[in-house]
């Protein structure tokens, strides 16, 4: 992948703890840290908090949250946000953390949006990785992203008189095929099987347009490669999309754009390069403290690994408590941690 462009700003956002990932466990970490008087900021690659609960299954009921017989994943996230509101956490959404660096006694994080975040301790609650578009694994695809390869589309007009290849079998693929019919010069829809998992009305319309010769359905095919402008050294102008039949036959579709709609995928990405001893997507921690191989860096929730780990929300909540208590001594060196139940302390808010 190409290096994202960073527009560094001089401002450094500082708090006691910086939490990577605003899924259920990252959110509850704010509560646990807050109860110990530590301030938090959270970063997430997604434009909203909630992690898997919000991105993958907001409508599904969850039955194994202790003392809550049933609630939807989206409701769980709402409740967590209410629970942490008194601690006024700062959210930096829609930006992936791309760097972790030790600076004196602090840890500094850099986000893809160019923000610098500083904490005395870091809690990594990155789940199964940063959510982003599910990019097809085609050679050199990053060269064309933005200008020729798109995972999200804003305006129809940008495709006026252009040849467009749409890949995918869900609502996005079908809806954009319909939306671009009178705009684009040529529309191909690539899908691996006859059935589309999209609104039946829209699928019918698409088939009608295909019969009328306005859309070309390329089925059952999948993406196989991208061909650029061979005359230029940089090769960053898309000329054709190569597709392959499940039986192996290839076709070359001359095109100016590829719209790839394969939903969301999660990737650890930069976290792999932080010397955390990552194995099969997990960060090894001591489960009694959740500390990683780096001092002052903790990992909780789905990403934290130790023998017999259970990837459950309730496990993550307990890990958040372990990590917060362990981080206290790093954030407040030389200060004793006076243990209190919440029934005794109430919600102290932030002492600042």
């Amino acid at each position: 992948m190409s290096e994202p462009e960073i527009h560094g700003s001089d401002e450094i956002h500082t708090s006691d703890i910086v939490i990577i990932g605003a899924g259920p466990v990252g959110l509850f970490s704010v509560f646990q840290c807050g109860m110990l008087g530590m301030s938090c900021q959270l970063v997430d690659a997604l434009p909203a908090s909630g992690g898997q609960c919000a991105a993958l299954y907001p409508e599904k009921p969850i039955y194994d949250i202790p003392a809550v017989p049933q609630l939807n994943a989206a409701e769980l996230i709402d409740c967590l946000e209410q629970q942490i509101a008194p601690f006024a956490p700062i959210f930096h959404l829609d930006q992936q953390v791309i760097e972790l660096q030790r600076v004196g006694e602090y840890w500094d994080l850099l986000t893809a949006a160019g923000k610098s975040l500083r904490g005395k301790a870091i809690i990594i609650a990155a789940g199964v990785g940063a959510f982003g578009p599910n990019r097809p694994p085609l050679a050199n695809i990053e060269r064309y992203e933005g200008r020729h390869v798109h995972y999200m589309v804003g305006e129809r007009e940008q495709f006026r008189d252009q040849r467009v290849v749409i890949a995918g079998g869900g609502d996005s693929a079908v809806d954009w095929a319909l939306a671009l019919v009178d705009v684009a010069a040529k529309i191909y829809v690539i899908h691996r099987r006859e059935r589309f998992r999209a609104a039946p009305d829209s699928v019918d319309k698409m088939h009608a347009l295909a019969n009328a010769g306005k859309i070309e359905l390329v089925i059952p095919y999948q993406l196989a490669g991208l061909e650029g402008d061979k005359t230029s050294a940089e090769d960053s102008t898309l000329r054709a999309v190569l597709v392959k039949h499940l039986d192996g036959t290839e076709r070359r579709l001359e095109a100016d754009h590829l719209l790839a709609f394969f939903g969301l995928a999660s990737k650890l990405g930069p976290i792999n390069n932080w010397n955390l001893g990552i194995h099969n997507g997990g960060i090894a921690v001591d489960p009694t403290t959740c500390v990683t191989e780096l001092p002052g860096v903790y990992a909780v929730g789905d990403i934290a690994m130790y023998p017999h780990k259970l990837k459950l929300i309730l496990t993550g909540f307990a890990e958040a408590a372990q990590a917060a208590h362990a981080a206290y001594t790093v954030v407040n060196p030389g200060k004793a941690l006076h243990f209190q139940h919440s029934t005794t302390s109430g919600i102290p808010g932030l002492e600042k």
């Binding site: 898997q52 993958l56 299954y57 199964v128 990785g129 599910n134 097809p136 694994p137 995918g168 079998g169 869900g170 899908h191 691996r192 099987r193 059935r195 998992r197 999948q222 993406l223 499940l246 394969f262 939903g263 995928a265 999660s266 990737k267 650890l268 194995h279 099969n280 997507g281 990837k311």
Partner: protein
């Protein structure tokens, strides 16, 4: 005994005596084979995509509509692609051969 043979992307074969009742995805994860299985078998992703040996595909039975829908979001599909969180280990699949797919 239910032997499952996993073929890594480099061709290396790993044979595991699996306990009936779990899924092939769980067997792979327990034995540290490279497989993200991000959603933990809850049919919400396609990161446990494997390619089943031709000789075995039919014997595993029909795919559910949910599994087919999720396979739409996988890459490098073949006629014998499966999400291995949906393949239950039982005596009937003793000797199953599955090919792992690239992880990231």
């Amino acid at each position: 005994m239910t032997m499952i043979h996993f073929i890594r992307t480099n061709g290396e074969k790993v044979s595991i005596d699996a306990i009936p009742g779990s899924t092939v995805m769980e067997v792979a994860r327990e034995h540290d084979l490279p497989m993200l299985a991000a959603c933990g078998g809850s049919l919400a992703c396609a990161s446990c995509h494997v390619i089943v040996d031709e000789a075995w595909f039919e014997k595993l039975g029909e795919l559910s509509e949910e599994e087919e829908d999720l396979l739409d979001t996988a890459h490098g599909l073949t006629h014998t692609s499966r999400l291995c969180c949906q393949i239950k280990v039982s005596d009937n699949i003793d000797g199953l051969v599955v090919n792992l797919t690239p992880m990231e």
